[in-house]
Amino acid sequence: MTTISTEHYKNKAKEAIKDDVLQSALAGLQNRLGPATAAMYKNLPEGDELRYKAHEVRMFALDNLDMLLEQLAQKIRQRGGNVFFARDQKEAVNYCLEITRRRKAKLAVKGKSMVSEEIGLNDALIKDGVKAVETDLGEYIVQLAGEHPSHIIAPAIHKTRNQIGSLFEEKLGISYTNDPPTLTKAARKHLRDAFLTADIGFSGCNLACAETGHITTLSNEGNIRLATTLPKVHVAIMGMERIVASLEDHDALFRLLSRGAAAQNLAGYVSYIGGPALDSEIDGPEEFHLVILDNGRSKILADEEFKEILCCIRCAACLNVCPVYGKIGGHSYGCTYTGPIGAVLTPLMTDIGQSKDLFQGESLCGACQDNCPVNINLPRMLLALRAKTAEGDPRWNIKPSSPVEKFIFSIWSKLISNRKAYDFFFRLARFGQKILPTKNGEIRKLPPPFSGWTLDRDMQQIASKSFIQKWKETQK
């Protein structure tokens, strides 16, 4: 990933919580989209069963991934398309640049694709002299503002209409308005020329179908269709796990994806692309390339504990209900994939040690799994990552956590397995807590090394009598 700054998580989160504008934007998202998604699942004729089935379909694809990718590549080549397997972001970017150079491309239009964010395609194109225009309205806004997306599906969710109005006034030279339809129309007008004149179109891939040999793209705006129809060259980039075996697997998954992402029955545009246009066709790209990207995914696939995360279809439903994302917003995570999915995926794709704040910051409330269209057990993996940082794991290049922490926990485990010692400790602590500063009967500050706990919250005092003591008294 181009710019990961996961180590700033705590500071950025603090700033985000103080940002009133952001807070109201996030509240809007969570109050409206979150519950709407949940309601949509309930209305499915198959009920929750469909989510379990979808999970199975995705796990099936992972267990047979090599054969499925081979079939996809073969079918696309048969139709005259090109397929490139890229081990890492560098190989993927270089392949894309080879194409833009060969075609002498000056202007590229991009359909929303998190994987192109992941490999840092925009920066590479711009450095190479290709103007890369984001065409999804949210992405366009974010690009105009010189920022990065803060949400997988609604990239500009952190911005209010007033901010967007000022941004358009400054960058597009239109007179200020905060009316969403007028703003949308202004972007439509500006991007139309780009669509009609672009040399090359880039897109992601939602979920390929191995059986028929097609990638698919989903959008509501129609921008991806434009970007993959009008330019002479179409380059699609897909994470290697974004594939299912059989055509009818798309039935369950697309209905779930559209519900999870935007609380709708089906995305406005679903396109199956299996190669360049035929000569006898009037339009459509004459050249089609598919880049299949590993970039750390095979390492995750090889790990029994974490391979489940590769079932993800990037619908962002987990973000819309996560109480942590709902407060700190996407930018605090400092990486492409944010929210609960990001808190698991980013550490696995980058460096678990460096990005440990991400999974330690999540609350383990379980809302993400309940809302996940493919029922991924995110809380389990958040916990597993925490265990890894505590115990260390050479495979993931993590050293065990600090000796002090380890020492404290070993004492604690001794203490709680010995009744007498335990009671004695609490008698002591009950007495000792009297010297700590309190407010409204709660402890304001703990001494080091526990001071972190009371940094942003007060703590309940230890009760004067334990439950067992009270119980005994009532029995007398």
């Binding site: 949308t184 059986e211 059989s246 029955n265 035929l278 339009d283 696939l301």
Partner: protein, 261 residues
Amino acid sequence: MIEENLNNQDRFLKTVKEAIKASPGGYRKNREELFSRLSQSTIDSRLKKIQNRTRADQLKLLDLLMEQAEPINLRVMPVKNLQSASESIKELILDKNPEWGTVKKVAAWKHPLIDKLSLGDALAKYDIPVYQSELKSTDDLPAGKQMIREQIFESFVGITAADFCIAQTASLVMKSHPNQARAVSLVPSIHVAVIELNQIIENLGEFYFLQKWDPIQKKEGLTNCMTLISGPSKTGDIELIMVHGAHGPCELHLFVITGET
């Protein structure tokens, strides 16, 4: 370059295979068993059920379509015959104004159903040209394509047929075919589609079933580009407020020819 790509592929897929071995999940199959299969009798009976729908069944599907279309702003207009479809489309074109510029031009597919509407004649007296996207065999191909492309860009209404219409999700299905430019349903501000009553099927599951098991569909395949269109273009990217006409068409009108009663 091709050879190099194949080397890449082998190395890449080997890594994937090893990863799968390292964490076996219990769904591993042989190559022959990768894709779902159905018994011939199941296929036959389901195909029969779909193909033997009565007119009353189809009308029920039309009702379902109309119900599902409303919330996504897809306007469905049942019409009795080709003539009244043609009439209604003409009215629509006369009634609406171009989004860009002031001149009214229309782009249409070269397609048997669309041809029968004779819109060119109907609109000639209003000086509204109807461009058909048709490549003549005598044409210089690139130049011919470029000309049609420009005509579509200048048009404010695009008229297409469709391969199927899925009632449950209110989706039009369009496969890529010669002389049916993809841009006609995409670039003009208003998309008008015309289908016949018996093209409506029930849901996505049925659609995929047909693609996979109906001999005719199977032979044709999904083509190089197949699109499902459910409603006009829309976005909620500014404060989640729904706005129609983000980049694609702002309006989508679907005429369903029900046949004389």
